[in-house]
């Protein structure tokens, strides 16, 4: 009886299509409350970034309508739900700025730039660090030595200082505030793109070292020797066998890099080195900084937006890391 029962069970199990590793990881991720919370924040940020212009009360700058005083006289209005003179609690949720813009609209329009910065900086950073890490980790010897010494130089640089210098130099060359990419016909902010590229070029070192370490580890595993014994070339081993084994680490690190890039861009803009034509969250902070004691709402809300977004990406990254590398959990 028992063996019969067992036999049936085994058969039943084998009929089921085996779960892919992604399905397993997703199941594990769903159990992690913090990670799911992070994912929700991140999805909300993406939603606002993509569809924000449809529900923002006022258009994005530099449109003239964006700078519109709400009342004659003083345009520094606290959030409408705190303003005793304003009967409509939703009229200007985050208050207004000294130049008469709606902080709520500014934050919403800033979201897409935040996403642009986060994704593009991370793409550049990861591309660079994967190439450098793979070459250093796979070929080793003097190549490894050279690349790692270069990465150390980047690590000991006071990066922000160099970023600021380069950003200032290169943003001077910007003519049109927006560039249209031919063929796909998408407008990109020129000044911000320069900031993004420079941030990307300055951030690869630590990620490259991580990827190099992983390459060193996986390169020595027996299945790599087995693949070589079956006729795999170096390129094939790198791209088909080592990199896919790193995919989970790359995903996790990317998500953390996005958070870091957003923070860094906010810092650059806040210090006044950003692109004045693209009102990122850091840019809002910078514009209203001098009157912070009065118009605190113009600092608090964009600041909270940055905090929440960075927090969301960090939680997501941690959640992913737990889900994809269960060994690291303890």
């Amino acid at each position: 009886m028992a063996s019969n029962k067992k036999g049936e069970k085994i058969k039943e199990k084998s009929k089921r299509r085996p779960a892919s590793q992604w399905a397993v990881a997703w199941r594990r991720f769903k159990r992690n409350k913090a990670g799911v919370f992070g994912l929700i924040i991140v999805m909300a940020v993406f939603f606002v970034g993509i569809f924000g212009s449809f529900f923002a009360p006022y258009p994005a700058r530099p449109n003239k309508d964006a700078i519109k005083p709400f009342y004659k006289g003083d345009v520094r209005k606290p959030p409408s739900w705190l303003d005793p003179e304003e009967p409509n609690n939703f009229k200007y949720l985050f208050g207004t700025t000294p130049i008469g813009t709606d902080v709520f609209s500014d934050v919403i329009h800033g979201t897409k730039y935040t996403i642009y910065v986060g994704l593009l900086v991370t793409a550049i950073t990861m591309a660079l660090s994967i190439v450098v890490g793979a070459i250093a980790g796979f070929y080793g010897r003097w190549v490894d030595n050279l690349l790692m010494r270069i990465s150390e130089v980047f690590l000991v640089f006071p990066a922000l200082l160099f970023i600021l210098v380069f950003v200032r130099i290169f943003t001077l060359t910007v003519g049109d505030p927006f560039l249209t990419i031919p063929i796909i016909n998408i407008q990109i902010p020129a000044g911000l793109t320069i900031v993004v590229v420079i941030l990307g070029l300055f951030n690869w070192a630590s990620n490259a070292r991580m990827i190099r370490g992983e390459f060193l580890r996986i390169r020595e595993l027996e299945f790599i020797e087995a693949e070589r014994a079956l006729g795999a070339s170096n390129t094939r081993i790198i791209f088909r066998h080592i990199l896919p084994n790193l995919l989970s680490s790359i995903i996790v690190v990317s998500s953390l890099t996005i958070a870091y890039a957003i923070l860094l861009e906010a810092a650059v803009s806040f210090l006044g080195f950003g692109d004045v034509n693209t009102i990122t969250w850091g840019q809002i902070l910078q514009e209203n900084f001098s009157e912070m004691r009065i118009v605190w709402w113009a600092e608090i809300f964009p600041g909270l937006a940055i905090l929440l977004t960075v927090f969301g990406f960090n939680l997501l990254g941690d959640g992913l890391s737990d889900a994809l590398n269960p060994r690291l959990r303890d």
Partner: protein
């Protein structure tokens, strides 16, 4: 007359480590006839695996093949370009590794792993590769191949994994197969199954097999001729039957005596001492510090391999003066 499929002459593979030059394989010569099962026996570190890796030319860094000839079907493999070797690996010569759980890439399912090998060496339409994969898995005795091929290595048991590894090695029907301790990491009950499978497949695919192991029991079962290695040198080459009955080298005798047996009421004999440090190997015969028959000449002169009977070679100065006990056949 059967011709030799593999002819190794004076092979030297050294590892250039920081501590010094490790002479892992030092002047090894033997040959392998078509359809033969040859055993490569020796303690850990005697150069068995390095010999196999040298034939495939995948000796890991800092190892290097210094000298010698490896003729495969008459062509010297050491003179081929890396590209040519890549084509040979997996299609003409294949190897099965010791640990099946680490010799399969964890991120791909079984079908992908097998398909990759087939496609690396042959141009076959996709539908046909699937058929071939199922066929291969059935040949190596994996039930429900069509379902199981979609599973990942971690979903297989050790024995099943080794079957997958065997299927992968046989995917392109190589004529020469190295089996590097293929059963060391398996349960004893599974060992027999895998060995039987290898024997069947050898006949089915008309392969020549080189069985690398330190297990004299497996060697007796699986091979027709044996090469005994010690510290990177050949001690003795003989037909399996002869070697077990009339070992001529003291090391071979010691190896045979170290096999536990139920029918003899004697304590297990161990070989005193350790395998020598291969950076500074003992002078003369490398076995002399552990050999109870050692004389002064053994310290001074390197013994040469001489044919003392048809197809029985031994490298020992003293073989005529000593009588050694083999295993009585039953």
């Amino acid at each position: 007359m059967t011709e030799n499929i593999l002819n190794i002459e004076g092979l030297k593979t050294y590892f250039f480590t920081e501590a010094g030059i490790v002479k892992a394989v030092d002047d090894i010569s033997f040959n392998l006839k078509k359809n033969e099962s040859l055993g490569l026996v020796g303690e850990s570190g005697s150069g068995k695996t390095v010999t196999a890796l040298s034939v495939l030319r995948i000796v890991p860094k800092p190892g290097k093949i210094i000298d010698g000839k490896v003729e495969f079907n008459g062509d010297d493999l050491l003179e081929k370009t890396e590209k040519e070797m890549q084509k040979m690996r997996g299609s003409e010569i294949a190897i099965i590794f010791q640990d099946p759980s680490s010799s399969l890439n964890p991120v791909y399912n079984v079908e992908t792993q097998l398909r990759d090998v087939i496609l690396a060496h042959q141009t076959v339409p996709k539908a046909e590769t699937r058929k071939k994969v199922i066929e291969l898995l059935e040949v190596v005795g994996i039930p429900e191949a069509e379902t199981r091929m979609r599973e990942y290595p971690h979903q297989f048991s050790g024995g099943m994994k080794q079957r997958v590894a065997i299927a992968r090695a046989l995917a392109c029907e190589p004529t020469l197969l190295f089996a590097d301790e293929p059963t060391t990491n398996l349960d004893v009950t599974i060992q027999a199954q895998v060995l039987n499978l290898l024997n069947d497949l050898k006949k089915k695919f008309n392969m020549s097999l080189v069985m690398i192991t330190h297990d004299m029991g497996i060697i007796a079962e699986m091979t027709t001729r044996i090469v005994v290695l010690y510290a990177g040198r050949v001690c003795e080459i003989a037909k399996t039957h002869d070697l077990f009955e009339r070992p001529r080298h003291p090391y071979t005798e010691a190896l045979l005596a170290a096999v536990p047996r139920l029918d003899m009421k004697k304590t297990l004999r161990i070989i005193p001492g350790n395998i020598p440090n291969l950076i500074e190997p003992p002078s003369g015969c490398r076995f002399h510090p552990r050999c109870k028959h050692a004389k002064n000449t053994c310290k001074e002169k390197i013994p040469v391999l001489e044919e003392i009977e048809p197809e029985h070679f031994v490298a020992c100065h003293e073989w005529q003066n000593i009588s050694l006990k083999g295993e009585r056949k039953h």
